[in-house]
Amino acid sequence: MSPAHYVFLAVILFVIGAVGVLVRRNAILVFMSVELMLNACNLAFVAFARMHGNLDGQVVAFFVMVVAAAEVVVGLAILMAIYRARKSASVDDANLLKY
């Protein structure tokens, strides 16, 4: 399998994640879609690192994982707080911060 297949897979995963973020209302699912996009990026990084023959992309993939883990911690905590207050996890209900 050539590395290009990995890149195509990454693109497919990214599009699935992006569509998920845009169409799902449940915050948990949005989160999961975001993770999917991040991991699609990771896959692309690793694939490109392999194609170019250096380790830079793999290093970045580790960073992305760390940041994603930290982001999930903060994001889920906020989600919990919102759910307790509103009894709802829909991102469309939390729309008070606007014009």
Binding site: A18, V21, L22, V23, N95, K98, Y99
Partner: protein
């Protein structure tokens, strides 16, 4: 003319200024505590200056040659490298003549005012202002440089403003004060420009420095200086075209009208021209302008004086006219300077006397100023009648009263100027003499002769009353002679009206006295000259016409409509209308246009821009709708566009 440093008595010339300044300071700062004796202090300070003036005068007579001109350096006001502005006093024949006029007539009028203003609660303030005026006027005539003169010039302007508006509870008085101040500012701008020009051209303000260099400075500079000084003189001396303020200035108390707006301040313009004689001698164009202004004003004032029913305004028209004579004489060069000053001094006596007489009539008639409500007062106010009558004979120029000598000298000097301009000027002066006789006879006849019109018509009056009387409060007055404090100054001024002209003119006394400052008149002539006799014949005609119109037939209680000329003269020959339509209205339009342009143009641009940005952002704001998913979509679109852009650039 050379000037010596002051010696002897002259080293104390600053006392002349110090007395009235002290008086004004104590009265203004002391406030109500000085109410009881304030007027006495005011009179005393003026008298002290008069005494010192006499001492200086007689000491000056004892000197000869250069000793007749003594300069007292007081202190350096603004010493900056090459620029030296000093305060110094110059005692010479010209300034000492003015000192005696100002302190002499001033003291008499202050004494008069003690009684005239006795019932005014603000008498102390009145005397403070008068002392301020005397101090400023003395600085004006005594200063040895133009900058000091300018300080005095502004000081008398301030005093004049304060005193015209002394009864400021009357809107008319407050407006008149403002009008006088503003009209004077126009003239003052001319004087200040002249001083700036002097500094730019000569680098000095001192009379000696300026006059020395004016001779070598070329006629262009001299002409410019002369015209600017003339503008200054026009403002202060109420000459055409800046004449409009003087008639309204009669809103002030009568002693003010007598001292400031007849005898002294309004003649400051003549002093300025005569003092600057070396400049004018080099500038024939400026001299011609001076004579034209004088001739126009003397007819202008005389015509206005003919139509006014307000006794003080009739006299104010006369003042304007007489100063026109002085200005005319001052424009004639060395031939006229001395007669300008001689007429000025004589006028100081008889016009102050006439105004004090008018004040005495006002005092008896409960402040009624309308002459159509007077009549038959000669028996009731005998002293006023006699002193006013002597002033009357002096102003119309009946020999041997003072106006005859001084005014005829001016007419002769104009006559001898020769050429077309000399003929026209002399003709104006002679016709003016005839009109003077007419309007002064009119005042005399309406006031002192005929039936007692006040008995049937009553008076309104109340010049200083607060609140003012109204038409409904018309009452019958009880005319009575004024107290001694008022009649004695009138008598003394009447003596001056009778004798001053003869004393000054006969034997060339005054001409020889002033010669070191202004030069000798080239021609000396006798008392009886053809122009003088023609003027005298016209004077008799003028008196006759006045008698035919106001003596032989009864004076109507209300003014008839009158001819076109009468109506024009009543409206001050449309001087106010002219100022209003030519200067004021266009000015208002200009400001309105500027305001419109500012609010619609400048502000409109700025406000419009702000409103556009505000409105746009108000609409763009709607994009921020709070839905996370739409934000995500816009981010995605943005990222895709960015990527597409990069790819397009790359390919």
């Amino acid at each position: 003319m050379t000037t010596l440093a002051a010696t002897g008595v002259f080293r104390y010339s600053w006392l002349l200024l110090a007395f009235p300044v002290f008086g004004a300071g104590v009265l203004l700062l002391g406030g109500r505590r000085t109410n009881k004796w304030g007027h006495l202090l005011g009179v005393l300070m003026s008298l002290a200056s008069l005494v010192y003036g006499f001492i200086a005068f007689f000491t000056l007579l004892g000197q000869s040659g250069a000793g007749r001109s003594q300069d007292l350096h007081m202190y350096s006001w603004i010493p900056v490298a090459g620029f030296q502005a000093n305060i110094g006093l110059l005692i010479d024949p010209l300034s000492i003549s003015f000192v005696l006029l100002i302190t002499g007539v001033g003291s008499l009028i202050l004494i008069y005012a003690v009684a005239y203003m006795a019932h005014d609660p603000e008498r102390r303030r009145f005397f403070a202002y008068l002392n301020l005026f005397i101090a400023s006027m003395l600085l004006l005539v005594l200063s040895d440089n133009y900058l000091g003169l300018y300080v005095g010039w502004e000081g008398v302007g301030l005093a004049s403003y304060l005193l015209i508006g002394f009864w400021q509870f009357k809107p008319t008085a407050a407006v008149a004060a403002k009008k006088a101040f503003i009209a004077n500012r126009v003239g003052d701008a001319g004087l200040s420009l002249a001083i700036m020009l002097m500094f730019a051209e000569f680098g000095t303000f001192n009379f000696t420095g300026v006059f020395d260099q004016a001779k070598s400075g070329g006629s262009g500079v001299a002409t410019a200086l002369g015209l600017l000084l003339l503008l200054g003189a026009c403002g202060k001396s109420a000459q055409v075209p800046l004449q409009s303020w003087l008639l309204d200035a009669m809103e002030g108390p009568t002693p003010v009208s007598a001292l400031i707006h007849a005898a002294t301040m309004v003649t400051a313009g003549v002093y300025l021209i005569v003092r600057s004689n070396p400049i004018f001698n080099d500038a024939p164009t400026a001299q011609l302008a001076v004579t034209v202004v004088g001739a126009v004003t003397l007819l202008f004032g005389a015509i206005i004086g003919c139509a006014k029913d307000d006794i003080k305004k009739a006299l104010a028209g006369s003042t304007m006219s007489q100063i026109g004579y002085m200005t005319l004489a001052a424009g004639l060069g060395p031939a006229g300077y001395v007669f300008a000053i001689a007429h000025l001094l004589a006028h100081g006596f008889f016009k102050a006397g006439l105004f004090l007489g008018a004040g005495s009539v006002l005092h008896g008639m409960d402040d009624e100023v309308n002459m159509r409500r007077y009549g038959g007062l000669r028996k009731l106010l005998p002293i006023t009648f006699v002193t006013f009558g002597l002033g009357y004979l002096a102003i119309i120029g009946i020999p041997p009263f003072s106006g005859f000598f001084t005014k005829d000298s001016i007419i002769d000097a104009a006559w001898e100027k020769g050429g077309t301009s000399g003929w026209i000027l002399a003709a104006c002066a002679i016709i003016g003499a005839g009109i003077t006789a007419f309007y002064m006879s009119r005042v005399m006849l309406m006031t002192y002769f005929g039936p007692k019109r006040w008995e049937e018509n009553g008076v309104i009056g109340g010049a200083g009353a607060n609140p003012p009387f109204t038409e409904a409060e018309r009452h019958i007055p009880h005319p009575h002679e004024s107290p001694l404090l008022m009649t004695v100054p009138m008598i003394l001024l009447a003596v001056g009206s009778v004798g001053a002209g003869w004393f000054l003119i006969v034997n060339y006394r005054f001409a020889d006295f002033l010669a070191p400052v202004v030069g000798l008149p080239p021609d000396q002539h006798g008392i009886w000259t053809w122009p003088g006799i023609i003027a005298l014949i016209l004077v008799v005609f003028g008196v006759g016409i006045a008698w035919a119109m106001y003596g032989r037939v009864p004076v109507l209680a209300t003014a008839p409509r009158g001819s076109v000329l009468t109506r024009a003269a009543r409206a001050d020959l449309y001087g106010d209308a002219f100022n209003e339509s030519v200067l004021m209205r266009p000015g208002q339009w200009l400001t309105r246009l500027s305001v419109y342009f500012d609010s619609r143009g400048v502000d409109g641009l700025v406000n419009g821009l702000a409103a556009t940005i505000g409105g746009t952002s108000g609409r763009v704001r709607r994009l921020q709708n709070g839905f996370v998913r739409s934000y995500a979509l816009s981010m995605l679109i943005g990222a895709v566009l960015l990527l597409a852009g990069l790819l397009v650039v790359r390919l």
